[in-house]
């Protein structure tokens, strides 16, 4: 036995902490347009370099460049811009509502809006996403009623989820949005099962599963990818790498050594690594994976590389574990600004229209909030107590019936 005493192990640490100057110098960001777009039916062995680069379309000037440009009509781009802005403004407003004591919890997707907006718009109405809590953009892009969001966040008498769920853990079947839960990762495999069921029925609907970078460490992640690969399932499995998991940076999930997209290689699946702050790149990559899936060539893993610009949630204060000004130094910019700049550059948008839109959305949000508050914010209104006892099973059994009676003082 060769024996060098003194084994050690290593605990990854981010390069900067509070008080340090932000440092993104370690990032290797290829220029927009630099990555060639292979045929979406290409066999996996030909695709093994893709996980180690970064697919980008919008360059620093706001031009759409390269193979991956999805060439979307301006109308579509404006709709995407609107959905991203609505998400951002709604998040900010409801975050404030939490600070005002109107609900128990809130969580924003600031800086990550391009991801769910692009994917929501790109995929079909009948496709199903298995979202995380950070995908409000999906619903915004599909015009989910603001008042239903507010009522859910307030857990009030008109809450579509009947007061049962923590704020923002939406469920919206008709909008292709599967029930979110507090448990991380445990729905990744359901995305695969749903898509397998669609394939079993010879249907044309595909599924999209999403987890955060931190959540890739769960066994669920591996199990979902294994099933997706083995049965060649029409599903798109995604990782939003916003580089943080509450206070842990992505190195704790393994990013010191490789990319999240490269996890695809373990399964013989293609892996795309995408600038997640670039709506066009997200769109194009999702489209590539969707075409592959619809052609029965199976699943793709997509890493959406982005940055969590806000705290994790209302329970978090990121200045305790990373430099307070880190968000403003993030080199891949803001997804809303970047799309706006592009639209202006191609002559399809201007500052005046932008300001007007901000105002219009603000009004809509204010109206929805007002309507929701009229019903009641948390604690001021709640669904009838019976709702606590419904849907445990399709038909309540004697336990639920007896307990309902007790609770209602009958």
């Amino acid at each position: 036995m060769a024996s060098n005493a003194g084994l050690t192990f290593h605990v990854p640490e981010p390069s900067t902490r509070p008080g340090d100057a932000p440092d993104f110098s370690g990032l290797d960001i290829p220029p927009a347009g630099a990555v060639a777009r292979p045929d979406c039916l290409a066999p996996e062995p030909e695709l093994r370099a893709l996980p180690y680069t970064l697919i980008r379309v919008l360059d620093e000037q706001g031009r759409a460049v390269g193979d991956w440009d999805p060439h979307l009509p301006p109308e579509t781009l404006r709709k995407a811009l609107r959905a991203m802005m609505l998400t951002r403004q709604f998040d900010d407003r409801l975050f404030r509502a939490h600070r005002q004591g109107k609900t128990s919890f809130y969580l924003k997707s600031t800086g990550e809006e391009a991801i769910s907006v692009a994917q929501s718009m790109m995929l079909g109405a009948g496709d199903m996403s298995f979202p995380t809590y950070r995908m409000l953009g999906w619903l915004m892009a599909r015009d989910y009623p603001l008042i239903d969001l507010v009522n859910q966040i307030f857990s009030n008498a008109k809450d579509p989820l009947r007061g049962r769920q923590l704020p923002i853990l939406y469920s919206a079947r008709d909008y292709g949005f599967y029930s979110v839960s507090g448990n991380l990762g445990s729905r990744f495999g359901a995305a695969v099962g749903w898509a397998m069921a669609s394939a079993y029925k010879g249907d044309d609907k595909i599924a999209l599963g999403m987890v955060g970078d931190g959540t890739t460490a769960e066994g669920d992640f591996h199990e979902a990818l294994t099933f997706a690969a083995v049965y060649r399932v029409p599903v798109i499995l995604c990782v939003t790498n916003n580089q943080w998991a509450i206070s842990s940076y992505s190195g704790i999930a393994g990013s010191e050594l490789t990319t999240f997209a490269a996890k695809s290689i373990a399964y013989g699946l293609p892996g795309l690594r995408v600038d997640g702050n670039d709506l066009l790149a997200v769109w194009a990559a999702t489209d590539w994976a969707a075409r592959r899936a619809r052609a029965n060539h199976g699943a793709t893993l997509i890493e959406l590389f982005t940055y969590r610009a806000s705290g994790h949630s209302t329970s978090d204060d990121p200045t305790r574990y990373r430099p307070a000004d880190e968000p403003v130094h993030w080199p891949l910019g803001d997804p809303i600004e970047r799309l706006k700049q592009h639209l202006i550059l191609i002559g399809e948008w201007d500052e005046a229209r932008h300001s007007a839109l901000v105002e219009e959305l603000e009004q809509a949000i204010r109206a929805a909030l007002k309507e929701g508050e009229a019903v009641g914010s948390l604690g001021k209104s709640k669904p009838p107590l019976e709702e606590m006892f419904e849907d445990v099973f399709q038909e309540p059994d004697w336990r639920v019936i007896e307990q309902r009676r007790e609770a209602m003082g009958e």
Binding site: A197, T226, F227
Partner: protein
């Protein structure tokens, strides 16, 4: 009616539901071409096609997650977990997803899945092929747990479970697969062929969930059991000579509380028998319910006869297994009380 073993009855239940409903799929480790390590899915792949009955990776969490997704789409999957001991890697899927989906989504989605799994001892399977985890499921709101004790019930309960729109854990007493077993280990092995409950209709029928069976009516004492223990209790009652009322719960969630209360109110005495370890086992819940609801009728403390609070040890199979002697002793105890 045809003579069927429990394996054949379960196979028939799957076959009948697959034939009647194209949305029923069966999958699990070794269930496809091979037909399952206990042969319960034998022939289903050949008959119904490889996309309706197929092998899965060894990943119990993945199996259940896949089933939940299929159920959310609208199918009615019937996954098999090869041994109940190996359900635990899927426990989070069952508790946090399957059991909670309907509730948390306000009824938008549900998980109409039936998870079949052989459980229990009596086959010298050692610690990890012998466990009885039913109490872990009984405590989980949103799950149903069904345990047959004979071929007729097995088929009818399995069909009812598959047709149910909520998630069902369907535990199959593996020691009963090929014949009844009453714990008299010195007796020759029996088959289902000569048993009345081994006579099984070939077509579709259901045994409703939540309805216990009075296996043997009696006046002296109530005996509550399920799975293999039903047969052990019958033997012990026979040995004891008491006029005991033997109730086979058949499903522990939903529980047939009315039948239990009615019987104990009548007899005033009760023993509860399960193979699982005692502490925190399902017997505790039954005992609590009975003393809550029949307190003034009780003439003796409710007794539990169970596996010991140890793992299921290979060499000590018959010391651990709660056989007719231990049940008989408990009958004596409650009958002689007061």
């Amino acid at each position: 009616m045809t003579a069927m073993s429990m394996i054949q009855a379960l196979n028939s239940a799957l076959d009948v539901t697959m034939a009647g409903d194209p949305d029923v799929l069966v999958f699990g480790e070794d269930v496809g071409y091979f037909g399952g390590v206990f042969r319960v899915t034998d022939g289903l792949q050949a008959k119904h096609g490889i996309t309706r009955c197929f092998d899965t990776p060894i990943s119990e969490g993945g199996i259940i997650a896949t089933a939940i997704g299929m159920g959310a789409y609208g199918l009615r999957p019937v996954p098999e977990i090869q041994f109940a001991d190996y359900i635990l890697p899927a426990f989070d899927q069952l508790v946090s997803e399957a059991a909670r989906l309907r509730y948390r989504s306000g009824g938008e989605f549900c998980a109409p899945i039936t998870v079949r799994s052989p459980y229990g001892g009596g086959i010298f399977g050692g610690q990890t092929h012998s466990q009885s985890p039913e109490a872990l499921f009984a405590h989980v709101v949103g799950l149903k747990t069904v345990i047959p004790s004979n071929p007729y019930d097995a088929k009818g309960l399995l069909i009812a479970s598959i047709e149910d729109n909520d998630p069902v854990i369907f535990l199959e007493p593996k020691r009963l697969y090929n014949g009844p077993f009453d714990g008299r280990i010195d007796q020759p092995v029996r088959s289902w062929a000569k048993e009345p409950t081994g006579e099984v209709p070939e077509g579709h029928y259901t045994v409703p969930l939540g309805k216990a069976a009075i296996v043997r009516p009696g006046e002296d004492v109530t005996v509550l059991a399920y799975g293999t223990m039903v047969h052990v209790c019958a033997a012990a009652i026979e040995d004891s000579g008491y006029d005991a009322e033997l109730i086979d719960l058949r499903s522990i969630v939903p529980l047939d509380i009315d039948t239990i209360v009615e019987s104990v109110s009548k007899t005033g005495r009760c023993i509860i028998v399960h193979e699982a370890s005692r502490f925190g086992g399902f017997g505790g819940e039954l005992s609590a319910l009975i003393q809550e609801r029949c307190f003034y009728a009780l003439e003796a403390p409710v007794q539990r006869v169970t596996g010991y609070d140890t793992p299921y040890p290979h060499a000590f199979e018959w010391d651990y297994f709660p056989g007719p002697k231990r049940v008989h002793a408990a009958l004596d105890l409650v009958m002689k009380a007061n």
